[in-house]
Amino acid sequence: MTSTAHITTQPAAVCWLATEDGLVLQGTACGAAGTATGELCFNTSMTGYQEILTDPSYAGQIITMTAPQIGNYGYTRSDDQREVCHARAMVVREMCSEPSNWRATESLPDYLRQNDIVAIAGVDTRRIVRHLRRQGAVRAVVTTDAQLGASPDALVAAAAADPGLVGRDLVAEVAVTEPRVFDNAGSLHVAAIDTGIKQGIIDRLLAVGCNVTLLPPTTTVDEIMHSGSGGARPDGVFLANGPGDPSAVPYVYQTVSELLGRIPIFGICLGHQMLALAAGARTYKMKFGHRGGNHPVKNLATGRVEITAQNHGFAVDADSLQGLPVAVTHVNLNDDTIEGIRMTDAPAFSVQYHPEASPGPHDSHYLFYDFVQLMEGRL
């Protein structure tokens, strides 16, 4: 891929989007030049394109934003969820290159070009969503390559050539390789196993009085148990969000299974799936996943409904919980899928959705306080 960071005044370059099952759309390029493949997904959040783009969980994916006007408020560096963007490409109905917002540091197209993210604008994004709703997740290609674009067959073949997500370990691509410490002079110390953690989660943990040490996903149980300051035992372990197929990272959930019962654990998204797998449950790939900021989740303990941020294509299989020491704590009201679990024999809980939001509603921030209470032995 070549970068085209310079701003061109020429008419927008042509760009193509094709799926493995034969949908071919033509639009205009609004990011970097080049070709990118990945699993095509859609996100229904009406704000937060930047946080979505920089969420490492999107590694290997092409993000379609259903909100039609993207880029309006530009790009604000401090809102990044990760320094590196792992999404493969972006699909929008209309892209704004002259943003308006007092916090913006640059335009979204500039960011995309500088970071080599291919993006296509001007396509019927609603059609893509309806396609995915009917067909389920598909592999796709986005390209500015005119030669490729000239042949629908070649485009479809390029889409089909993407390795897809199933069985693929994408965590290794996005995680830290060395421990990183976030010290906010907190009273608790959290060891976070980085499978692609979002800055929003770190911020929430810091906000509730934790210091955070980010550990590579391959960190051993022993290392984790001594990852506190000066080699001390941390107060809790956090299981992060992350990309791809949970069953493809056995080394993480095996570690978790060894940690269970020894230390308080809180997991989010992939971390939730890690906890479930560690407890002996199964996960499965959903038809087209949950990605957006409006999913209602019911907390079964309180009966309250939280409007949640979601981003997952895999889920915990409810049937597989039979006979396990696992209680379901949260369910999705749209499709009754499992959104949260708690171990009945160990201090561990997790949610499938994103209580840290970033982007999304803040209704579920309370879970971070719950984690603090768990670590302090009060829950």
Binding site: A67, R93, E98
Partner: protein, 1089 residues
């Protein structure tokens, strides 16, 4: 939590007549609430004084009271119906205020009635500035900084803190009098010192100005378990300083990042909690400083509002329906989303399109008023549009406004005031957006225009994308464009008319080329979820994307064209008719297809018709829907002038028109053809002529004599209509009218002074005729029928006259081959019945007549259009001829039967005027319509029915005090009896010299006062000082802008009933008797109709 079982009977309070700031959105929300509550097994009792509402249809409630919305009437209903609970949050400010008054008067406690949706303390906390500011402080949210000042020294100290400009509001002055914005020390001194004087407690609120800040709104719902959702976020294109009802608004919010949006979301929910809104919908408004993101809370409304109606239409989330369910105990997760069926209502709609709402103004009706937009709402209606992008939606919204524009400029209608071009960008007016676009065309920069206007650069940047595209195609031949360019223009939201203008051709050519090149639109669904789940409701909008989502259907489609945005002369009454047509045609087996762009209405509820297209009612947009749906028939006669204008073009496309054919409409409009018809039928009509030049006008005037009723041809609501008593006025009119109507001729009719005017609504099926109602006007001829009160049945006309009217009505209906509704205006003078006007279409009075007689005329007419005869409907007697004399009828109608239901009660309709919103405009009634809404009163006698209408209008109804009387010479004889009655009723009398002399001669004691032009203290001073409770003032010929005008303005300002003609004055006096005698009883529609 399941629904409550401890309450059975719920009183729903409606919002009363349509006024500026409170329109049919409350019929939409109220009707939804009634339906929902009944479905849940509650007995619904309804009070609303507005007959032109769907909610007052008898089948929507167990008991429907079309009575004034006042605590007295509410208490009577509570007692008679044994009410358990009251739902006040769906009837706008009127409903909320009435509930508060009831609570304060102890009515609720006395009868054990519970308030649902909002407790009184909550309403107070939401509405009272000081309490609200305290509540916001409790939760750490900012409101604009402010303080109260009691002296100039206070003001000077506070300004140090606030900085200029500041907004100043004297406390407790009428209508915010004495307030203003101070930009400098001089203005501060002037406004504060004046304000301290005006304020009865010598207090002025001084507030930090947030003018120019970005303005946002959040529509929030909360249930009794504290679940809260944001249904919709709205961003105002016009910055702070313009009332949100007068702003162009956009949904969802476009220029906030997630960080900022979530902060606003958190604040919105926190505000509902702190104010204590336990269940239901609320609207919260914020201002954000564009320079640093500082957010302040402006206000919240603890009730369903205009914005929530907009939000419901914008998202497909029915706020009022859900609010009603929450009020009776359901929680959000227990209610399912109608559209997706499988998912609950406890979620936040995600929308994958852009919605733009544009306000519709009517300044042309109120000459002399300031057109600058301020924090006080002035628009009379609104249009909403949905597009895939802001540009597409904005273009649609602007061409929906029925003001002759085809989009944001470049339509051949651009006219700019070059001398004040920049001022038109800095000062908010209805035209500002066109100036911004033009400035971009002239090469001015986005940054500069944003600086001048305060409009966010994002919006101006989008507009620039349009003007840039225009520049690319302007001046080129249409055939020169490529298909891609044409598609790009359509995707930018340009209408065919605009493209035609830019390429020097006509709309038809653009349409033809689009077909040739396959640049055709598709229709997408509004589904609350951005297509994540399957949608089961058919709610569509047009765009130029790839995929069309309209499902196939085997049933024949009947398409109903709505009435577009509310404006004066065309309001809720036509929407009412369209809704009824949808119901009736659905029952006749059609798949009904509604096309409309007014978000306030019931017709644009996705529940009303089988398919809803939220589209402008222009030829292009309607024709696109027709091509998609291929309807078996299109109804053009129910939506007022808007769809009627399209009839001819649609017919040319071979579109089947349901019911009366456009030729009948043309026949009735065409003077020559119509005179011939009247001559043939032997029906009298005022002498008339047409003129295109001044000389021709003089000729006609000489022939038929003064006074003359003059007007441009083809108008609705009496636009541009005037009465000329002499040549001088005629000349003045002709010079002005030429500008009004272009090539269209001016019509001149002999004006029948002093005649009794009569309106008739009828339905004809081609064979037989149903007389809906014969309405006698209270005001004499010369006042627009829409502004005049009327009564069913007639209260003065003789049976012979009524029979003549029936015969004429039947003969005209048959002669014009009416298949559906028709309205005829008659004038009766000296025993002769003249036809003034025939309109073979739904009229403004159809809902009123339907309510008064219990016959749903619009439904009857729709069934006729579907082929069901009046005999089949059981509305005319199949066996014999009607009860009309058959002496002079034409042959073809010899067998025609006439049905009529004459109610035994008197039902009066009275018009409601918006003058309070337009200081400076004259309030004199005339042939040009100015009212925005209507109320109905019914009783066993006419005076009581009339009294109810006067009480229903939101003015104090005086039964004692001082009556000021000043009438013109013509009225001097007749005033004596009226004055004597007032005197006997206990009023003291006050007059100026001329009238006083007449009253004194009749032996009545009168206090003489001076006219304003004679010196001071004048009558204006007495009015200002609260010494006058009733004014009778008939106009003196020419002096439009002097004493009479000043008096009328003062009456509006101080909310004193002001009667400007003697017929209304007599009716008013008899109404006072009815009130004094205690005849104000209540009765439910289900009992009398």
């Amino acid at each position: 939590m399941p629904k409550r079982t401890d309450i059975k009977k719920i009183l729903v309070i409606g919002s009363g007549p349509i006024v500026i700031g409170q329109a049919c959105e409350f019929d939409y929300s109220g009707a939804q609430a009634c339906k929902v509550l009944r479905d849940d097994g509650y007995e619904v009792v309804l009070i609303n004084s507005n007959p032109a509402t769907i909610m007052t249809d008898p089948e929507l409630a167990e008991r429907t009271y079309i009575e004034p919305i006042t605590p007295e009437f509410v208490e009577k209903i509570i007692i008679r119906e044994n009410i358990d609970a009251m739902l006040p949050t769906l009837g706008g400010q009127t409903g909320l205020n009435c509930a508060m008054e009831c609570a304060k008067a102890g009515i609720l406690d006395r009868h054990g009635v519970e308030l649902l949706g909002a407790q009184t303390e909550v309403i107070e906390r939401g509405e009272d500035r000081k309490l609200f500011a305290m509540a916001m402080e409790n939760i750490g949210l900012e409101v604009p900084r402010s303080g109260y000042v009691y002296s100039m020294d206070d003001a000077r100290r506070l300004i140090e803190d606030l900085g200029y400009p500041v907004v100043l509001r004297p406390s407790f002055t009428m209508g915010g009098a004495g307030g203003g914005i101070a930009y400098n020390a001089d203005e501060l001194r002037d406004i504060v010192s004046n304000g301290l004087d005006l304020s009865p407690i010598n207090e002025v609120l001084m507030e930090e100005s947030v003018i120019g800040w970005k303005e946002f709104e959040m529509e929030v719902m909360r249930d009794c378990k504290d679940n809260a959702v944001i249904v919709c976020s709205i961003e105002n294109l016009d910055p702070m300083g313009v009332h949100t009802g007068d702003s162009i608004t956009v949904a969802p919010i476009q220029t906030l990042s997630d960080v900022e949006y979530q902060r606003m979301r958190d604040a919105s929910i926190a505000i509902l909690r702190e104010v204590g809104v336990e269940t239901g919908g609320s609207n919260v408004q914020f201002a954000v400083n564009p320079a640093d993101g500082r957010m302040v809370v402006i206000e919240m409304n603890p009730r369903v509002s205009r914005s929530s109606a907009l939000a419901s239409k914008a998202t497909g989330f029915p706020i009022a329906k859900i609010a009603a369910k929450l009020a009776v105990g359901y929680t959000l997760d227990e209610i399912s989303n109608d559209i997706t069926r499988e998912t609950p209502a406890c979620f936040e709609p995600s929308i994958d399109y852009v919605v733009v709402k544009a306000p519709r103004f009517a300044f042309e009706k109120f000459e002399g008023t300031d057109e600058t937009l301020t924090t006080r709402m002035k628009s009379v209606g609104e249009a909403m549009a949905i597009g895939r992008t802001f540009n597409e939606a904005l273009g649609k919204a602007l061409r929906s406004l029925e003001d002759g524009r085809a989009g944001l400029g470049s339509d051949g209608k651009d006219r700019f005031d070059e001398d004040h071009f920049d001022a038109r960008i800095t000062t908010p007016t209805a035209q500002r957006i066109y100036y911004v676009a033009e400035a971009l065309r002239r090469g001015r920069s986005v940054a500069e225009l944003s600086e001048l206007s305060g409009i966010d650069p994002w919006f101006i940047g989008r507009i620039k994308a349009q003007t840039d595209l225009e520049a690319d195609i302007k001046g080129r031949a249409l055939s020169d464009l490529t298909a891609d360019e044409l598609r790009a223009a359509k995707r930018m939201g340009l209408s065919d008319v605009q493209i035609a203008y830019l390429t020097g051709t006509d709309e038809g050519a653009v349409r033809m080329l689009r077909h040739a090149w396959d640049v055709l639109p598709v229709f997408k669904a509004v589904d609350t979820c951005a297509a994540e789940f399957e949608a089961y409701t058919n709610y569509f909008y047009k765009c130029y994307d790839d995929e069309d989502e309209v499902p196939a259907t085997d049933r024949p489609r009947a398409m109903i064209l709505g009435a577009g945005p509310n404006r004066i002369g065309q309001g809720i009454e036509f929407d009412y008719c369209c809704v009824h047509a949808a119901y009736a045609l659905h029952d006749e087996g059609f798949e009904t297809v509604m096309v409309n762009c007014n978000p306030e209405t019931v017709s644009t509820d996705y529940d009303t018709s089988d398919r809803l297209y939220f589209e402008p009612l222009t030829y292009e947009d309607v024709a696109d829907v027709i091509e998609r749906e291929t309807p078996a028939g299109v109804v053009v006669t129910f939506g007022g002038q808007t769809p009627l204008k399209l009839a001819e073009q649609l017919l040319r496309d071979k579109t089947p028109i349901m019911g009366t054919q456009p030729d009948a409409i043309d026949l009735a409009e065409d003077r020559k053809r119509f005179s011939a018809v009247l001559d043939e039928l032997g029906i009298a009509y005022p002498a008339a002529g047409t003129a295109t030049t001044l000389d021709e006008a003089h000729e006609v005037a000489d022939r038929i004599g003064y006074p003359l009723l003059v007007r441009p041809s083809y108008v609705l609501g009496g636009r541009g209509m005037s009465i000329s008593y002499d040549r001088e006025r005629l000349d003045r009119y002709m010079t002005r009218a030429a500008r009004l109507s272009g090539e269209h001729p001016v019509l001149l009719d002999r004006f029948l002074e002093g005649a009794v005017e009569v309106d008739v609504d009828a339905v004809c099926d081609g064979c037989d005729v149903l007389i809906g109602g014969i309405m006698e006007h209270i005001e004499e001829a010369g006042i627009h029928s829409g502004d005049s009160a009327c009564c069913i049945p007639s209260f003065t006309l003789g049976e012979a006259t009524l029979d003549t009217i029936r015969t004429h009505t039947r003969n005209l209906a048959l002669k014009l081959q009416v298949r559906g509704l028709m309205n005829i205006q008659y004038a009766v003078k000296d025993g002769v019945v003249y036809v003034l006007e025939v309109n073979p279409r739904a009229s403004r009075t159809v809902p009123f007549v339907s309510k008064a007689t219990g016959t749903p005329l619009a439904k009857v007419a729709a069934r006729v259009m579907a082929g069901r005869t009046l005999v089949q409907q059981g509305l005319v007697d199949a066996s014999g001829a009607g009860d009309v004399e058959s002496s002079d009828q034409p042959d073809e109608s010899a067998a025609a039967k006439v049905g009529e239901y004459v109610p035994t009660r008197y039902c009066v309709k009275e018009a409601v005027m918006p003058f309070g919103r337009f200081p400076g405009a004259d309030t004199l009634l005339g042939p040009e319509m100015k009212s925005t809404g209507e109320v109905m009163g019914s009783a066993a006698d006419f005076p009581t029915a009339y009294a109810k209408t006067q009480i229903a209008i939101d003015y104090p109804f005086p039964t004692s005090g001082c009556a000021f009387i000043s009438v013109c010479d013509r009225d001097k004889r007749s005033i004596v009896a009226i004055a004597r009655s007032l005197y006997k009723q206990g009023f003291s009398l006050m007059s100026t010299a001329g009238t006083a002399r007449v009253l004194e001669a009749a032996g009545l004691p009168v206090r003489r006062v001076m006219k304003r032009s004679e010196g001071r203290p004048s009558v204006i001073d007495h009015v200002t000082n609260g010494e006058v409770q009733l004014i009778i003032n008939t106009p003196f010929g020419q002096e439009a802008r002097s004493d009479g005008y000043r008096l009328r303005s003062a009456a509006v300002r101080f909310r004193i009933p002001n009667l400007t003609n003697l017929n209304a004055a007599s009716a008013f006096v008899s109404a006072v008797d009815a009130v004094i005698d205690g005849r104000l009883d209540i009765s439910a529609l289900q009992d009398y109709a």
